[in-house]
Amino acid sequence: MKSFTYERATTPADAAGIVASNPGARFLGGGTNLLDLMKLEIETPTHLVDVQDLKLDRIEPTEAGGLRIGAFVTNTALASDERVRRDYGVLSRAIVAGASGQLRNKATTAGNLLQRTRCPYFYDTNQPCNKRKPGSGCAAIGGYSRQLAVIGSSDACIATYPGDMAVAMRVLDATVETVRADGKTRSIPIGSFHTLPGDTPERDNALDHGELITAVTLPRPVGGTHVYRKVRDRASYAFALVSVAAIVQRDGSGRAAFGGVAHRPWRVEAAEAAMPRGAVEMSNAVFADARPTDDNAFKIPLATRTLAAVLAEVKP
């Protein structure tokens, strides 16, 4: 770990201002990902701005009939909130499918959106990795890629976004609220929050340096049956090989997003019209542009079969 300086910000704009003015600065939330990455010198910030005093830790109703989730609401608090469990069950289920109780107590909503890939080559600083060190190459391509992306990847990067919570937020059409140093705010639809790697895999998302997430808003509930199905190599405490976040209505229509397959939660709205006709047809449309590796080609039939399991589960 490199030496760094540390301070606690008092307002969101203040925090954004400090980080924006210092290229080596980073926000510190729950620290469950950043601190590990710093110990391994994958992340080497020179200054940490702790945002835990900003009081962005409440879940409030919005005028539109949805919920506004403060950036620093913990995963545990969010998953156990009565309104979330009642109206946005897919979100609650996705969160408790991830990490462990201890980690969820510490992890924040904003931090969860920002967790970095678990690509093993990203984690080994001896290996080339365009995400960790732009321009150094990608050791994962042609290497051990069983966990990695099957769609939306590029010749520079085949990493996946590893989280569960954002997959549920994607199917809920959540919006990420931010503030910048100048006090200006913006609302980023979750679908354009996480980026694809393209030629700039060092970027995980649409945030500018110093732009601070203040909240995630959920639109008014859409009803339906909420399912989060996570498939992994052991029963708990593992990242998804494939996950499906789905909301299915009584008439068989619905939405589904996939985790573990791409650099962002993967949802193809145009394919959802096929949901009533079954998993195979919908999945074929979702993964039409897939470019898997030999190691991870199984994820595509697995995603199809997992979607089929979800649809079978919700069948009245």
Binding site: S3, N126, Y144, F298, L302, R305
Partner: protein, 736 residues
């Protein structure tokens, strides 16, 4: 004391304390966090510094330059140790790995430098400032690529001959009416114990004292002496508590070697714990094996031909993984060919991991037996029963000392309700779940080796036992306590046990499941001597005294045990040595493992529903710790069956998933109801205590039982471990 004839009746047969499910002797220390593990000693080595190991960034080649100047100037840094100033470290006798790249790099993450600083954080930060340039050379990383060319190596110290023939295998196999000929692979597996390797080293002149985490003290002093170039008498190791080892801490690893080397260079005590991400590519692991099993049988199920050819790889000078060991002893059959071949690989060293040989060997053999049973339309248990033997199948003049294999099978079948199993695969479905049952036999050597102990009786009647045995979470303290209490006729709370110090009498330590039988035999010898001394002090005729209830009784006379020491402590020491009963008897432990699994028909995920082990291992010394050993082995077997796999990057030559997020082991949610049952038996040929080990038996046979259950559930045979979902997904029922 020499043990040269099978044991008769002796005080351990009383079983007043032995055999009981006594709580762990040191359990309260562990549950309250007050047992001192290697890294936690605070005041033993004042002024200690922290060492941090920098591992090589390449798998094979050489260091062309090391620039340590920035690291040396970094805050708190005391020194940087590389091959340029480390002296010339030697190599121990059990591991062949070199502790430092000097300047040749033999495998990925091989240590190139140890940065020593005042704090851990300073050492770690400065390690990032060491600049190393390498010249890469091509390496050998793909075991399968050498399958055609790898030779049968000369016989090594362990594992027996690498090729053995009995009868005419080729002819018998060709003639057999029913055959199985399949290849199975078991991947590289990591010990992945909870406590990382850790050591503190402190020099005093030419003598070094180390607080460490090591399973075998006698090997540790020998090997550290060789590495440091000092007599083993000058090495003092202290290791009273060990947070798991599974063979991965058998003897000196890089933490201990480099702590001692660094302490010598910087002239300060040095403390090193291995960071988890370098453990996978630097310490030993269970090496991958590619195993071809050929079984030929008559229509009655009797095996006529047994062939097992196994390939493993290792660093130059490393040994073979002795996978065919159990194939040589488990089943009858007149014609046999077992062979182990060895490839050279430029990966971290392959070496002992819990049940080396037997665990991966049975992972192949016991699937093959399941396949044979299916071809014969026989129940898999009946197939094993008809091939039972009471003599060593390679050496019919040598009977098994005890062999309750069939009892294990029968008892297990009844307890597990095996009769409910449908022999047709894929016949039971509950909702989305495909349900199956499977079983496998288990065999593991019942080894024993010479072991000493010292016993002290004080005036309060407390008996203190000292041996260099270790407790790696197994229950050694407790079985030593129970043996001493039984021998001396006192309550367990009158016994003090001191383990894990190389200055104590020598034992083989924890390894090869020989620890418990060996050390208790040593305690038997020391306590026998103590009984004789006590009886003499008290003026008894030593032939007919009874030690019970804290007293010594003979005829009408009864004296408090403590009275024997009223004029001063009585201290005796003895060693149990073993004559050649192991040459007369084939000494093994046996078991049968049963598993029921559910496979998700959509996703292929496997969930184990229940498991049972029935074991026969001579006298069970403590019903609770033995059960814990066995169910711990069963958990490890779930890992081997379903998830554990050190993934190799064959281009760059390293284990890629080198942390506990990438290398998955079972978590609580993976483990269902587990039962372990012990057959009531004693083995008088092994020692006066009549006990064999169970620590490795609990693992052998578990993974193939699960594999066979998965086949029974799905009808898809997977011969490549671990059985992750993609290996059968495309053959599961089509989507409706």
């Amino acid at each position: 004391m020499i043990f040269d004839t099978p044991a008769g009746t002796n005080p351990t047969d009383r079983m007043k304390v032995l055999g009981k499910p006594l709580d762990r002797y040191e359990g309260h220390l562990k549950t309250t966090g007050t047992a001192t593990y290697a890294y936690e000693w605070q005041d033993v080595a004042p002024g200690f510094a922290y060492g941090y190991i920098l591992g090589a960034a390449i798998a094979r080649g050489r260091i062309t330059s090391i620039d340590t100047r920035d690291a040396e100037r970094a805050p708190g840094v005391i020194g940087v140790v590389t091959y340029l100033n480390a002296g010339k470290p030697g190599v121990g006798k059990f591991y062949v790995q070199k502790m430092l790249a000097a300047p040749e790099v033999d495998h990925y993450h091989q240590p190139v430098a140890v940065v020593v600083a005042e704090t851990f954080e300073q050492a770690r930060a400065a390690a990032g400032l060491v600049r190393v340039d390498y010249q890469r050379t091509a390496g050998r990383f793909d075991l399968a690529a050498q399958n055609g060319s790898a030779p049968v190596p000369p016989e090594g110290e362990f594992g027996g001959p690498n090729e053995k023939r009995v009868g005419d295998f080729a002819r018998a196999f060709a003639a057999a009416p029913v055959k199985v000929d399949e290849t199975y692979t078991v991947p590289d597996q990591a010990h992945a114990m909870m406590e990382p390797h850790a050591s503190i080293a402190k020099w005093d002149g030419d003598r070094v004292t180390c607080w460490t985490s090591i399973q075998q003290m006698n090997w540790g002093t020998r090997d550290l002496g060789l590495i440091l170039g000092i007599p083993k008498q000058n090495v003092h190791l202290i290791s009273p508590y060990i947070g798991g080892g599974f063979g991965g801490k058998g003897t000196v690893q890089i933490d201990l070697a480099l702590a001692a080397i660094a302490a010598r260079v910087v002239k300060r005590p040095v403390k090193i714990a291995l960071q988890r991400p370098i453990m996978f590519n630097t310490t030993i692991h269970r090496p991958k094996t590619i195993q071809r099993v050929q079984l030929g049988a008559g229509r009655d199920g009797r095996l006529t031909a047994i062939g097992h050819d196994s390939l493993s790889g290792n660093l130059v000078g490393g040994r073979t993984e002795p996978t065919v060991t159990s194939t040589r002893t488990l089943y009858a059959g007149a014609n046999r060919l077992t062979r182990m071949r060895l490839a050279t690989l430029d990966l971290a060293e392959g070496n002992a991991m819990r049940a080396p040989g037997e665990a991966p060997g049975l992972m192949a053999l016991e699937i093959a037996m399941d396949e044979l049973a299916e071809k014969l339309k026989m129940d898999p248990i009946e197939l094993r029963v008809v091939n039972d033997t009471q003599v060593d199948p390679e050496n019919p003049d040598k009977p098994f000392s005890t062999r309750a294999f069939v009892r294990c099978l029968r008892e297990g079948a009844q307890r597990f309700h095996w009769d409910k199993r449908r022999s047709t695969p894929s016949a039971v479905r509950e909702g989305q779940w495909l349900i199956g049952m499977g079983m496998a036999g288990a065999i593991r050597g019942g080894k024993i080796a010479k072991a000493g102990a010292r016993a002290r009786l004080d005036r309060t009647g407390v008996v203190t036992i000292e041996t260099d045995m270790t407790d790696i979470g197994t229950g050694s303290y407790t079985v030593v306590q129970q043996t001493a209490a039984e021998m001396m006729g006192v309550a367990p709370d009158r016994i003090v046990v001191k383990l894990g110090d190389s200055t104590f009498p020598e034992t083989p330590g924890s390894g090869g499941q020989q620890g418990a039988p060996s050390v208790t035999a040593g305690v038997y010898a020391a306590c026998t001597k103590l009984r004789e001394t006590v009886a003499q002090r008290l003026g008894f005729n030593t032939a007919d005294v009874d030690f019970a209830d804290g007293h010594v009784h003979s005829g009408n006379r009864s004296v408090k045990l403590a009275d024997a020491a009223k004029d001063g402590d009585i201290v005796v020491e003895d060693l149990m040595e073993f004559a050649k009963l192991a040459d007369q008897f084939q000494q093994q432990t046996f078991g049968a493992h049963f598993a029921e699994v559910a496979v998700d028909a959509y996703t292929g995920e496997v969930r184990v529903r229940r498991m049972l082990a029935v074991c026969a291992a001579g006298r069970i010394l403590n019903a609770k710790t033995a059960r814990s050993q066995v169910i711990g082995g069963m958990v490890m077997g779930v890992g081997a069956a379903l998830m554990e796999d050190m993934a190799i990057d064959k281009r760059f030559g390293f284990f890629v998933n080198h942390d506990l997020a990438g290398y998955e082991v079972p978590v609580h949610a993976d483990i269902p109801h587990l039962d372990a049952f012990f057959i009531d038996e004693v083995d008088p040929t092994i020692s006066p205590v009549k006990a064999k080990g169970v620590g490795e038996l609990g693992l052998t046979g578990v993974a193939p039982a699960i594999a066979n259950a998965i086949y029974n559930a799905t009808g898809v045979r997977v011969r490549e471990y671990p059985i992750t979902l993609e290996k059968h997904l495309d053959r599961l029922p089509a989507l409706a």
